[in-house]
Symmetry: C2
Subunit: 144 residues, 2 copies
DNA sequence: AATTTAATTGATAAGGTATTTCAGTTAATA
DNA sequence: TATTAACTGAAATACCTTATCAATTAAATT
């Protein structure tokens, strides 16, 4: 059992929840597809190969649970469905996304560079920031 | 007729579209409620006082059209519906939003401070940025 | 290893937002 | 005023997501 699965087990136990085969298989699918920003239906289809009897409602419930437990993050690319990605457990903030408005490609940006802006905001707006979601829209190298 | 309505009329004419009372009333409602981030249903309810015979489908269609014409912007606060706000016509980028995770208050931040980050991204990722959407989550002055 | 029990599941119904359809209406141009 | 393509409202439809519920199961307790 890997680190992330171990962490899931602990967090579930803490709340009196159970580690079921369905939850294992769902998290496994997300772990094995990092960087792909899979939708619920896409995850459902992939999980079924490992766990054919799983129902769609269970996948919805599991993703909601993993999000609550801070293991994954829900992302919205305005394409009509929710997508999910594994959280980075070293630091606790979401990376940025570059979205090509022509071909739809999504590129991940790990450099943060928001420190100055966040300090400015905390000072000027008396607002305590604990997370952010940043999307840039434009043209990727193939499309510009 | 104010500047924004004039701009709408021009853009519609350019595409062979018509300036109808329903479109006028919808845009008027948005103009008269700046900073409120109204949802489609909320706009529908307010428009009805001025234009009681309007249908919900027309409001959906009009908001979609105003978005396409770059007069308003659709925003997503993950509360299950689309919200809209009037575009700033001086510069062409979206201001930032601070969202209080406790009380839900939304604060607008006009300072941009993303120049350095955007330059860095354009250089390192060979990506031509033309817009961004930035949300900060945390605690407002009342809630922290 | 068997018992207990609250959590979990899959199937399906139901909910909620958004879009499509279509016949009747209307803004804009000549 | 006549013409016509665009537009509208009402209702049906589509689609993603959540709720319901009886059957099952993980995990703690004997
Ligand atoms: Mn990502
Ligand atoms: Mn705003
Ligand atoms: Zn591209
Ligand atoms: Zn607050």
């Amino acid at each position: 059992m890997n680190d992330i699965m171990e962490k899931l087990k602990d967090k579930l136990k803490e709340k009196g929840y159970k580690l079921t085969p369905q939850r294992r298989a769902t998290l496994d699918t997300i772990i094995n597809n990092q960087g792909k920003h899979l939708s619920t239906e896409e995850i459902y289809d992939m999980v079924k190969t490992e766990c054919p009897e799983i129902g769609l409602a269970t996948v919805y419930r599991t993703l909601q649970l993993l999000d609550e437990l801070d293991i994954i993050t829900k992302i919205n690319f305005d394409d009509g469905c929710s997508r999910y990605e594994l959280n980075n457990h070293e630091d606790n903030h979401q990376h940025h996304h570059l979205i090509c408005v022509k071909c739809g490609e999504v590129i991940e940006v790990e450099v943060d560079l928001l420190e100055t802006l966040e300090e400015e905001i905390e000072k000027n707006y008396d607002f305590k920031i604990h997370d952010h979601k940043v999307k840039f829209f434009g043209y990727c190298s193939n499309c510009k």
